[in-house]
Symmetry: C2
């Protein structure tokens, strides 16, 4: 006779074992390690919550401290590899296999550990893809999550940083997995219920806030004139002609510059209400001037941003907020919105090849993908029209039967021809390919594939890849905006000139932009202090961004 409730029985045993360290569901911070040792079993799939923002840091430390003789060979299935502890568990043998999405701050160390064979790599995913697998073949046996507070029944309040928590818990709790939440405090009554208590088995009282990285804060003071130029090109050459209203902005100074040019440069172009009204976006501080100037109608967020909570709470017409007044973020829904309800994704990258493939992986750093592959891909399941999407579709396929012609998501890569450390952004061959060879990966870690990219913007101009009709045109369009990089210098000048005549390449002067007019005074805010001022004092920048 086959048993059909092995998982349920295991759950009961795990809860019984963990209960030795709990009063009801509540566990003292000092007992977190003992709790984890009691609940987790070797070879378990474990989701340790952490993405590019919030971190279940106390539980990460506790897991890193367990006895590898008792707990070993775990398969970690988690959004972010961000804290040192996320990799320590692989050094000690507590964990063995890894499936993840983002590893920005640990990009160097994770690369070394992969080369050294310390980690058995499953795959590097985009967030929504990893969430999808939680329901099919990477369902966690144990989830270690973070919330602001809990009541004694285990109901959780995540506050503004809801992020991945509901998704992780849904996949775990409803498949007989154990959910352990660290909370800043246990209270009698929660400001709102983000997670019902019957999905939460243990609550560890951390007595201090979980760690959150202010990843989406860009100091306007650090925005260069070159970045302002690329932002002006994007607004005049892409946002305006396509009429992009629903969009996502990646992290970076180029898109921060776009946000700060909306109430100035874009407003003078008469674009208010015609572009940038609805976002799938974290609460970027650099968007405050545009919001305050009445540009923005609605924003749905993946997570919150450090220092933005009071501002968001005072702007409920713009943001999604709960009955308690504070932000309700949700990474799974915001990624879905970015995929299916946005007409543009614009972001930066580290390397672009001659076809337009791009990657943030370099020879020594594996940063992961985050949300870019999802939002920076053409959603082929999309069935609703919108003018930017239809126009892009017409450009890509001018001769197609109109009724059978699909639209296209605008996927824009924006950056300077030379990036950090003067490394060229344009390369003949992505470092990602060498890495794939070295690690024996079946797929090179390409962030956005060439066939999804529609435009490349640099200080030299815009290349519209939708209008390229063959591989050669495409290569010359890429070379034609690659400036003084080797790739740029390798251009066929005559062909680039013809591409320019056909409007495939646009220079600043083709768009009526005088490079001499580019000036930091165009930015609606020129410092973090300016942003705080725009917000009426509601934005409270983290101390590392304050110099006053």
């Amino acid at each position: 006779m086959r048993r059909w409730n092995a998982e349920r029985e295991a759950l009961a045993q795990r809860i019984a074992a963990g209960s030795a360290f709990a009063r009801g569901k509540i566990v003292a911070a000092a007992d977190a390690g003992a709790l984890i040792e009691a609940v987790i079993r070797p070879f378990d799939r474990v989701c340790l919550e952490g993405d590019n923002q919030k971190q279940a840091d106390l539980l990460a430390r506790a897991l890193a401290g367990v006895d590898p003789a008792k707990i070993h060979d775990l398969h970690m299935v988690q959004s972010g590899v961000v804290l040192p502890e996320h990799l320590d568990v692989f050094e000690t043998g507590v964990a063995k296999k890894l499936d993840y999405a983002y590893s920005g701050p640990q990009a160097g160390r994770i690369a070394k550990m992969l080369f050294g064979g310390k980690i058995e790599l499953g795959a590097v995913h985009t967030y929504l893809e990893l969430f999808a697998r939680y329901f099919i073949d990477l369902t966690p046996n144990v989830a270690l999550v973070a919330a602001v507070s809990a009541d004694r029944d285990g109901n959780l309040y995540t506050g503004p940083n809801t992020e991945d928590t509901p998704t992780v818990i849904e996949a775990t709790a409803f498949k007989s997995g154990v959910v352990i939440a660290q909370v800043n405090e246990v209270v009698d009554k929660l400001p709102r219920v983000d997670i019902p208590g019957d999905r939460v088995h243990f609550v560890v009282e951390a007595k201090k806030p979980f760690y959150v990285e202010p990843l989406f804060t860009r100091d306007p003071g650090a925005i260069t004139e070159t970045q302002i130029l690329t932002a002006m090109l994007a607004i005049k050459g892409i946002y305006e002609p396509y009429g992009v209203k629903r969009l996502n902005h990646g992290i970076g100074f180029n898109t921060a510059a776009i946000e700060l040019l909306l109430p100035t440069f874009a407003e003078r172009l008469g674009l208010k209400g015609k572009i940038c009204t609805r976002f799938a976006l974290n609460p970027h501080p650099t968007l405050i001037p545009a919001i305050e100037s009445g540009w923005v109608e609605q924003i749905h967020c993946f997570g919150s941003e450090v220092g933005m909570d009071d501002y968001i709470e005072a702007r409920p017409d713009i943001f999604f907020t709960g009955p308690d007044g504070s932000l309700r973020s949700n990474r799974a829904f915001c990624q879905t919105a970015g995929l299916y309800a946005c007409d543009m994704f614009i972001g930066a990258t580290l390397q672009i090849d001659l076809a337009g493939n791009s990657s943030t992986v370099t020879a020594s750093r594996i940063a992961g993908f985050g949300g870019a592959p999802n939002m920076g891909s053409d959603a082929r399941g999309r069935r609703h029209p919108a003018e930017p999407w239809l126009k892009a579709g017409r450009e890509a396929d001018p001769d197609g039967l109109p009724a059978l012609r699909r639209g296209r998501k605008l996927v824009v890569q924006i950056g300077e021809t030379f990036g950090e450390g003067n490394a060229p952004t344009f390369v003949e061959k992505l470092d990602a390919l060498a890495l794939a060879e070295k690690l024996g990966l079946e797929l090179a870690p390409v962030m956005i594939y060439a066939d999804d990219v529609t435009h490349i913007v640099t200080e030299e101009g815009i290349a519209n890849l939708l209008l390229c009709r063959d591989k050669d045109e495409r290569e010359q369009a890429v070379r034609g905006v690659a400036g003084y990089t080797e790739v740029g210098r390798g251009r066929d000048a005559k062909m680039v000139q013809r591409l320019r005549e056909r409007g495939i390449i646009k220079r600043p002067e083709d768009l009526g932009i005088n490079v001499l007019d580019v000036d930091r005074s165009l930015l609606a805010a020129r410092s973090i202090k300016d942003l705080a001022r725009w917000s009426g004092g509601l934005y409270r920048p983290p101390s590392k961004f304050r110099n006053w």
Copy 2:
């Protein structure tokens, strides 16, 4: 001075107006209409919950009964147009504009009303796309949802049919919208909490269960030998060579036949454990024999299926279930799983054209899309490898640089060459194109586009479109499996023969299948009663499927 809390103030007013008909949050069924008239305002965006399964039927009737002088010009943003009341509101002027995803049972009437100009059509979406827009530009002002029970704080228990409810409520409640839930009963303590009460403003006690359509029940007694043949072809010619483990099956007798051949035909081929282990799928009764035979490891569900609840509850190792023991379904996550974590989508359609575009829209019926466009599209954001996906990618692009070659989702259309009423499945031009012209749509309602379809299976054989190298080969591959339809008879017999020699077309004999062996005795269950027997009496078919 701009106000930033207009929505919050409107919410307070709406709740105050509705509270006249409530005790606390509880409203009597007889007062549902008065409550709705008090809460909804003209031109509101309203989500009336209903998909292809569960329906907020009491609230649908109440909305259809409001005074159009008071409530008019609503913009309905909802998954399903299924009940007559969903269209009645457009006849009376209560509603004006419609954005939706599925309209199977109302396909004829909705077509007539669109032709008659009674409905202003936004777009026909796939479910996940509509959910995405709830967070960007179709956020409901009011959501009318359905649950099994509520407590006096408004906490909701959705039971096995959770489906769209968490998504609809999240988008509405956290953007200052009003949430009204009909429940079968108000209780003191819920079996589990599916929706926290602070997101629910009013609870209408219906005193009887909401309507659920048993849409995924297929009587094995109605499966034809032709359908069994297509199922055998699919298993032998696609499931086996690609090794498809993670997948979704559409609704229909062909895929039901596949499910019923797993413990018989497929088991004899030695495929147990090698195919069909993990599904994004509703609890199809026809999957019971495969589950009982140990074929299936895990299933995540969009919704439940009438009569399957006790069976699911007794099989928690397979299904996602709550602490109360019953199924936890979730359409948004299951669609996400179907998009990103499955290697195959296989389903039926009404019409396929020469390129491979398909649609369920005919001249007089607009059935909507449901989940097919999402799950039947290549997820270009996907970054994790799996053998079926990699093999499909190699077939599509044999000369590509391996490290830069993406995999491909297997998207299979299966059906007989002649469908219901002897209408040919294969056509020169989809009716959807004529419809788009007639209604002035910017996009024809194509369900799955040619460039996403990888295989077509009919009783004549399998066409592998991945292996076609140009438009002509593709057309002849389609014609080559189109049987005696006009499209099939129009084939270039020599070219079809060459395609067969190259393995692009496979006939039953090419796969070692003798058409004379095809017999209903191959089905693991040949009646609904057989399914009930396989389940040990746990599956309780709805009365319309019982003849004993």
